[in-house]
């Protein structure tokens, strides 16, 4: 704790004759600006302003840019369509339609996973909400669209391309290399994975406990209506 300081007293109201004469003050002021000029010439390659887009600013590896849907080792989406990111989203910009995955170990997957980039506020709540490590953000902040339809990014635009580097590097994500946390186990590496078509066999034997009637994916229209009604 300390006191109160009166800044008005520290600055006498009356200017001195020298200060009122303009010329000495102009010389003093030019001194400051010329010092900046010379310093900037000396560090011409390292100025605070940058020549975008030829040069880019270095952002940290926590940058909250365009989203990315991570994949398992076999290239399928890690997302299990649990709707938690859509629920956590304050801008309500995520639309998911869930489907039944042919592999029983994967159970569910998103048939549709859309993020409306015009609604998104890039707060990262979806990344925090994901229990499956399936949704990350990247350093990509250049998303220009010609129309609104283009701004709705589907799985094709969001999925991590196998073997290809992520554009502008990875951004905000649940854990970072070396912070001691473990990624979730990959279902594809688990020893008991019934393969493709296994579900069909179980179904024929009447052993599949999951609901099998009707179309797997939820009706997108009724889902949208439900979200609007909230």
């Amino acid at each position: 704790m300390s006191g109160v300081v009166d800044v008005g007293v520290k600055q006498p109201r009356k200017l001195t004759v020298l200060e009122r004469l303009y010329i000495p003050e102009i010389v003093k002021g030019m001194g400051v600006t010329i010092r900046h000029l010379l310093r900037n010439i000396a560090r011409i390659r390292n100025l605070p302003t940058i020549l975008y887009p030829e040069r880019r600013r270095d952002y940290s590896d926590r940058f909250r840019g365009k989203h990315i849907l991570t994949t398992r080792a076999d290239g399928t989406l890690k997302c299990v369509a649990c709707y938690m990111c859509a629920e956590a989203c304050p801008a309500e910009c995520i639309t998911i339609v869930a489907g039944e995955h042919p592999k029983i170990a994967y159970e569910k997957y998103p048939v549709v996973f859309d993020i409306d980039m015009l609604r998104c506020v890039f707060c990262g709540f979806c990344v925090d909400a994901c229990p499956k490590d399936a949704l990350w953000m990247t350093g990509n902040y250049e998303m220009a669209f010609f129309n609104r339809e283009e701004a709705v990014f589907g799985i094709d635009k969001l999925i991590a391309k196998q073997g290809l580097p992520v554009k502008d590097g990875l951004g905000y994500r649940p854990y970072y290399p070396g912070d001691g946390t473990r990624p979730p186990g990959d279902a594809s590496s688990s020893p008991v994975i019934p393969g493709d078509g296994e579900r069909e066999i179980l179904r024929e034997k009447g052993l599949d406990l999951h609901h099998t009637e009707g179309p797997g994916p939820l009706n997108a229209a009724s889902l949208a209506a439900d979200r609007r009604g909230r």
Partner: protein
Amino acid sequence: MSSVESVALTPVAEKLRERIARSPLASRIAVVDLDLPTLEVSPADWPAVARFLRDDPECRFDLFLDLAGVDNAKRHGRPSRFEAVFHLLSLSRDEHLRVKVVLPDGASPSLPTVSEVWPAANWFEREAFDLFGFDFPGHPNLRRLLCHDAFVGNPLRKDYSPGQRWFFTEEDLRMPDWAHTEERAGHFETQTISIGPSHPATHGIIHLIARLDGEKIARAETQIGYMHRCFEKMAETHTWNQAIPFCDRLNYVSAMINGVGYVRTVEKMLGIEIPERGQLVRTILSEFSRIMDHCVNIGTNLVDIGALTNFWYLYQPREGIYGLLEACCGARLTVSYVRVGGLAIDVPEDFVPRCRALLESIPKFLDDVDRLITRNRIVRNRFAGTGVVTRDQAIAWGFTGPPLRASGVAYDVRRSRPYDFYDRFDWDVPVATDGDNYARYLVRMEEMRQSLKIIRQALEIFPAAGPVSSDDWHVVLPPKDAVYHDMESLIFHFKLIMEGIRVPVGERYDWIEGANGELGFYAISDGGRGPYRLKHRPPCFPMMAAYEKIIVGGPISDAIATLGTLNIIAGELER
């Protein structure tokens, strides 16, 4: 309404009851003990009670802080549907008070105006008229404020469905009545001009209508609301945590402070404490945000009066601070870094060295600006003696923050009610007495240096490691490692995301020192998944209300300088 004598009270409220007993209306005022001492009065008694509260030498609630309407339609346990909740401050005793005016059911909600008791109430009452449809008989200019003139309905009433659209065309624009009449000053004609809504000097979208007598402004009125998005209604339809990104967009120049103010309110309601390290990160980044806010304010203000160079010098520290914020949370402007119960993520490893580097570089830029501006004759002529707000005016108009301190009142929340670690640090509250633009400039310059001082001390006691968030998993998301591998953590995670934080039923007004003044949040919880009502007290709102009175008598060029030093941020002004 319970009688004055019946309820057992805490010492603060007991003291208040003793003071109230001196009022002739004492028998009709109920004293309730909530987070703040609270009075309940009926609309008919309200003006007399207001006068008593302001004038009584032992009460002296001289500063009007906030008016929040509340619609109790979906809430139980309140005597009537509508309430007007006032928050007052006694500067001499650093004491807050809440007054609830309970509006009886049946007739349309109405209560007498108190804009003559506290001139600051003027715009707050217009806002309540606009958003709740409260009538204020006797109000000098009861018109819509935040919503436009073609708007139908009162958006913050519980029966108003969000998502309705009302289109506004040029024909709907209502100019003040005096703008249409012809006035003569002697044999000269005066003329009415519009400055804005889209004018580079209005920093945001503000419509100033001024009647000019030659060069001098004879009369003025400001119209706002171009950036109104009804943040408070949005908060009601989302969970407690989901409101954090909306808070970033209030005062977007110092987004971190808004988030801290909001989550502190919710944490108080939940009764949780966050670890020391988390508190210190919040303090350090809030003080950096304050520096950034003042840099932007002074920089752009000087551009408005023609001194461009300083803008570049002041934007360089801001760039460095943005870099630090981005390294912590991944965004520069809309940080969304805080969460109820802590922070989204721990700070990066190089946090302390980065802060220290900033502490090294920022004073150099401040010194440069000091050298160019503080004793500059042109700036002196433009700033000194213009936009003068006297001490009494500043209090009557509800000023807080640097503009109030520049008028000679040393009120700073960090000093009067130290939160986090502010009582452990050694720092001064800068004040000035002249109340003009120059005084406000000086106060802000000194405040930046004091903030640096606070950060330096905070870094000294900053623990190298430790948690930044509470470990109460009913409030804070469990660590991801546990969520992936532990069933119980996953359940906590799921419950928190799908149901949100359960905040106990009750209400709370909590306040911190924003970059612009007292930043208050009044939150009501009905136990649901989100706020039942969230009222934000924007520090620049009362200043904008007073602006049209401050500039009268001066030329437009002074009005532009004054608009800058009052630091109007449209995002928080219009919410």
